[in-house]
């Protein structure tokens, strides 16, 4: 009987091209696992990295073609309106792929040094990237949830990959329990929103509000659902007070993974938040924007205040990453196109700064910690790395002529445009406070008094060095000529298109 029903089932028409990037990544992950487990001799770790980087680049090229199609023919949706094909999904696809390639290259040398399992690392990295891309392009809450889980579960394992370290186990355990907790919030939120609006499809939810207007029947149901979804996503992006996991997890995870969490995973969370709240819930924006504004204020303050008190660079970067989420939230709460493209610009440029920073951290930090004093005299030991790290830190501090300045500028501008002056002022004050922390690391690096003659030789593997230098160049280039990226971010504001 079931078979009989199946034969009557007609699947939705699928436009395969926009899905190709995800498919390439999944296939690459399978290839890595198959080849390394079936091959009689031990396969070199370089194979996994090469396949990961190669598939990431290939997926990027396909995404570029899709982007050109979208520009010619306008945005669309596929798989019965469950997956959106617009500039927004392409933007986050490219962001995720950049993070994937960079993390894979940094991880390559890190894995060798720490004697971790390369094939598993690469496969998980690829699959989490697929999860992030699905999250960013989902037009349906169920699809979005699948993407979120694919991303999260992979990250739980990656956090634990240095299983010999007690901190890594602790980090993974915490991340898993709290992640599951917050996923439950999110899922319950989806259920309630479905109950109130009758659909999990974002297009239908938006349409429901347009027809019903403010005379919605199950208002309480919807609001509770919206609140629970906000909690789930705030957890993913590490916004206070849902950020507690972030410092512990970032500190315990392998440094390249921490960088990946702070870039791709955070960006995916924001992608989901923007698509759901800015687009689907836009009719109720008057209700949720004040909450996001307060969240962003708390996040900014907690990030700055906690970061200043740290002595461990990895933990410092973790709290600073909380603070950066606060800046993006400033743009999200504006609930305008300008605000959204400011958030996109910020996330894109932050990706390179934070991956670069954690790459440097991975070079300097061995298992026994990441104290600031370890960076003393780095400028004399490895001048190029020190210059690059200085660029990342100045960028995160928001110094003019780095991409971080332009990002902060656009974000604060969106709050000013929206006439939420108190938040703009707060964001400026926080940028003033956090400058201390970044400057502290910088002055340690450039301290000439320190005797570095006895310091152990600091080896910089080629792949990591390459990523660090490229990330630094991108940070400077988008600080000096940001126009192309600003335009890309402007064209990438999400739109909803019903399934055809």
């Amino acid at each position: 009987m079931i078979l009989a029903q199946l034969s009557n089932f007609e699947g939705p028409s699928i436009d395969w091209l926009p899905l190709t990037p995800q498919i390439i990544l999944v296939v690459a992950a399978l290839v890595i696992l198959l080849v390394t487990s079936l091959s009689p001799a031990k396969v070199s770790d370089s194979f996994s990295t090469a396949v990961t980087v190669g598939s990431g680049v290939a997926a990027g090229v396909v995404a570029w073609f899709v982007w050109n199609d979208i520009r010619d023919e306008g945005p669309s949706s596929t798989v019965a309106g469950a997956v959106g094909v617009d500039g927004f999904s392409i933007f986050f696809t490219i962001l995720t792929l950049s993070a994937l390639v960079a993390t894979s290259l940094v991880g390559h040398s890190y894995i060798k040094r720490e004697q971790m399992a390369a094939p598993e690392f690469s496969a998980l990295l690829l699959l989490t990237a697929v999860g992030a891309i699905v999250m960013a392009s989902a037009n349906d809450l169920i699809v979005l949830f699948i993407g979120l889980e694919a991303l999260s579960i992979g990250l739980y394992v990656m956090a634990a990959m240095q299983f010999r370290r007690r901190e890594a186990q602790e980090a993974a355990m915490k991340y898993f329990v709290l992640g599951a907790f917050s996923s439950a919030f999110f899922l319950y939120g989806i259920a309630l929103v479905y109950g109130a609006t009758g659909s999990t499809n974002l297009v239908n939810i938006a349409a429901y509000f347009n027809t019903i207007g403010s005379r919605i029947n199950n208002l309480e149901l919807f609001y509770v659902g919206m609140a629970l979804m906000l909690v789930g996503l705030a957890f993913k992006v590490a916004a206070a007070p849902f950020h507690f996991w972030a410092p512990d997890v970032y500190q315990g995870s392998p440094s390249p993974v921490s960088g990946y969490m702070a870039s791709a995973a955070k960006a995916a969370g924001f992608a989901a938040m923007l698509r759901i709240f800015f687009v689907a819930f836009s009719r109720t924006s008057a209700d949720w924007t004040p909450i996001v504004a307060v969240l962003s204020a708390i996040t900014l303050i907690v990030g700055a205040v906690m970061a200043i008190t740290q002595n461990d660079v990895k933990r410092m970067l973790a709290f600073s990453s909380v603070g950066h989420a606060g800046y993006v939230l400033v743009a999200v709460q504006a609930a305008t196109s300008d605000g959204t493209s400011a958030a996109l610009f910020y996330l894109f440029t932050y990706t390179f700064m934070v991956i670069g920073s954690f790459a440097v951290v991975s070079l300097l930090g061995w298992n026994d910690g990441h104290d600031v004093s370890r960076y003393e005299g780095l400028a004399r030991r490895r001048p190029l790395i020190a210059v690059a790290f200085t660029v990342f830190l100045l960028g995160q501090a928001g110094v003019p002529f780095t991409s971080g300045f332009v990002g902060k500028f656009l974000v604060i501008r969106s709050a000013v445009d929206d006439e939420i002056y108190w938040l703009a002022v707060l964001a400026m004050v926080v940028s003033v406070i956090t400058a201390f922390m970044y400057l502290r690391i910088i002055s340690n690096m450039w301290d000439r008094e320190v005797d570095v003659a006895d310091a152990p030789r600091l080896s910089v593997p080629l792949t990591t060095g390459f990523v660090v230098v490229v990330c630094a160049m991108i940070t400077v280039v988008y600080g000096v000529i940001p126009q192309s990226l600003i335009e890309f971010a402007r064209d990438a504001v999400p739109v909803l298109v019903a399934g055809g």
Partner: protein
């Protein structure tokens, strides 16, 4: 020729990069000579651009060079570009001119320092930032320079950061300046939201559309920024401490150039300075002038006297701005750059000759041992004391006249200004008498076993800049003599800049002008006479002239420390005592406070899973309750 403007900041930038890479290997003294050479070339480039500007007519003396569109976002266009107009070129001229002399002086002064080349790296970077600040064609570029000079000042103050006090002072300068920076950012954003532009040439025409309230608010925020950078009440506290830096730094950064950038900013923003804002600026300025002059009266450290004197003179410049006398403000910036740089470099020569002694009570009779230093220092003294025809007389006189003519509170401003001028003459005379006259006290209370101090004159690289600056301090007033209309060269040159501002026009009769000038000169002479009676002839008991209350600058700084830094006066020093590294321990003052809050909420970050989960649950509950209560 005007298109060469990019060269002016590019030269010091190139010097900075070169010395950063190769400074250590070329070492002393070549690193110093290279830095001096790029600084001198930058001065020549400025002269060339200046000549190009002079070829044009008065109204057409504006030239913009846009390097590229930097932030083309919607309605806001931010370019990376330079603006050459009378104001910016005047600033650039004395910055590169005085800057080059100080570079030259530093070659001798820093002799033997283990970080010799690093010093010149910072000095060139500072010069670059300062030139960006004045030559930028919009507020964002100026802000870039503004941040740059702040960072360099911080690096240079704590240059000898093995000295604890130097490290603390560096941090204090940084913290106080960040307060001002915040005002700058806020003002820039407000200006942009109100008139849609932050480019200088567009601000003037658009400023008319601002409501009076908005314009005043923006102007006052810029005043916060300027007060931080230019050490005005209540943000002046960092400048006296900044004297921990090497003396050439005090001369260049903390007397001639950086501290005047607040004056530049307000003068540049003249189209938005409303009457109310002007009144506030004038009051802040005159209060600072008086306060700092009182503090200068009782200092023992030769550089501290000059530091408080700088704060006081900056107060005069703010008084000029507040009175609408923008030309007088810039005039005083220039003459002050001459005589204060001269005095600082002179004091550096004294400190050098006295083998690093800074306490004036251990000096005396140095005019015989250091005749050239003494002669030039005396020129600086006469200039700052307002004795005609030295440079300081002309600019200070113009400020007092402008204050006199202000409606309402003008007479009061003038009276306070006059009294401050008297104090200025007094404390500078006291300094000169204590250091160069009287009996030699070089070896009083010398601990057993220490070698005897034998003062000696400094090398030619140090004395030559003193000579040049002394000549400038003598005749510098000539650029703006109020004797014939056409002798007001600076005023006519700068006038086009103030097309949209509330520029003060002098209206007093010649008789009033002359009598006010005579009163001012008399006040100066009275101050000098009191000092002579007390410190030269010992006819007044001197111990009562140095009350502890004034020596500690009325305890303002200590009070700040108490309020900001938690219990006790120690707070500002606490971290420096704990760690001697630059910013280690994060910050003091404001930063310290934040850190304490952080430690308070730290227990929340306990590592306990249950607590984290409760945090999430409570946060979620709060959002649910909020949404429901707002919606229902």
């Amino acid at each position: 020729m005007l298109s060469l403007v990019w060269l002016i900041p590019a030269l010091p930038l190139a010097g900075f990069v070169f010395l950063l890479v190769a400074g250590r290997s070329i070492g002393e003294p070549n690193a110093g000579w290279i830095a001096t050479a790029v600084s001198g070339s930058s001065f020549v480039a400025t002269l060339v651009v200046f000549a190009g500007l002079l070829e044009r007519d008065g109204e057409n003396r504006i030239f913009e060079q846009v390097l590229f569109d930097w932030l083309p976002v919607g309605s806001l266009e931010v370019e990376a570009g330079f603006l050459v107009d009378p104001l910016s070129i005047t600033m650039a001229l004395f910055i590169t001119g005085v800057g080059s002399l100080i570079h030259l002086y530093s070659i001798g002064y820093m002799h033997g320092d283990e970080n010799y080349s690093k010093f010149f790296v910072y000095l060139n970077l500072f010069l670059f930032s300062m030139l960006m600040l004045v030559l930028g064609n919009n507020l964002v570029i100026t802000f870039l320079g503004w941040e740059g000079v702040g960072a360099c000042s911080y690096f240079l103050v704590s240059f000898w950061h093995t000295r604890e006090s130097a490290a603390t002072a560096g941090k204090k300068a940084f913290v106080t300046n960040r307060v001002g920076d915040w005002g700058f950012m806020l003002a820039t954003f407000l200006l942009w939201t109100s008139i849609g532009t932050i480019t200088y040439v567009d601000i003037g025409p658009a400023a008319g559309s601002l409501t009076n309230t908005t314009a005043t608010a923006i102007a006052l925020l810029f005043l916060v920024a300027a007060a931080g950078k230019s050490a005005q009440l209540p943000l002046y506290v960092w400048l006296p401490d900044a004297m921990e830096g090497p003396t050439p730094v005090s001369a260049m950064v903390h007397a001639a150039t950086m501290v005047t950038s607040g004056v530049y900013l307000l003068v540049r923003m003249n189209p938005i300075l409303t009457d109310n804002a002007q009144t506030v600026i004038a009051v802040v300025g005159v209060a600072t002038a008086l306060f700092a002059a009182l503090a200068a009266v009782a200092q023992h450290d030769i550089k501290k006297v000059l530091a408080y004197s700088t704060v006081s003179q900056l107060g005069f410049m703010f008084l000029a701005i507040g009175s609408g006398a923008y030309v007088a403000a810039i005039f005083h910036v220039i003459t002050h750059a001459f005589f204060k740089a001269l005095l600082f470099l002179g004091s550096g020569s004294v400190i050098h000759g006295m083998q690093d002694e800074q306490d004036m009570r251990k000096m005396g009779a140095l005019r015989k041992a250091m005749p050239l230093t003494a002669a030039t220092f005396i020129v600086g003294w006469l200039a700052i004391a307002g004795v005609p025809p030295f440079a300081g007389f002309w600019s200070k006189d113009e400020i007092l006249l402008a204050a006199w003519e202000v409606d309402g509170i003008g007479k009061g401003l003038w009276a306070v200004g006059l009294f401050t001028a008297l104090l200025t003459a007094y404390y500078m005379s006291r300094q000169v008498f204590l250091v160069f006259f009287g009996e030699a006290r070089w070896n009083d209370n010398r601990p057993q076993g220490q070698p005897e101090v034998v003062p000696h004159e400094s090398s030619w690289t140090m004395v030559l800049p003193l000579g040049v600056l002394a000549v400038a301090a003598m005749v510098g007033g000539a650029i703006n003599l109020p004797i014939f209309e056409e002798w007001l060269v600076l005023e006519h040159f700068l006038e086009p800049v103030f097309e949209y501002g509330r520029l003060h026009h002098f209206e007093s009769t010649t008789a009033t002008k002359v009598s006010l000038a005579v009163v001012a000169v008399i006040a100066g002479l009275v101050g000098m006479a009191i000092a002579a009676a007390a410190w030269l002839q010992k006819r007044i008991p001197t111990d009562r002239l140095e009350p502890k209350f004034l020596e500690n600058a009325m305890y303002v700084d200590a009070t700040y420390a108490k309020i900001v830094g938690g219990p006790g006066q120690k707070s500002f020093d606490a971290i420096a005592a704990g760690d001697q590294k630059l910013v280690d321990g994060a910050v003091n003052g404001a930063g310290r406070l934040v850190q304490k809050i952080g430690l308070l909420i730290q227990p929340g970050q306990s590592g306990m899973l249950r607590q984290y989960a409760i945090g999430i649950a409570l946060g979620g509950l709060a959002i649910v309750v909020w949404l429901l209560s707002a919606a229902l």
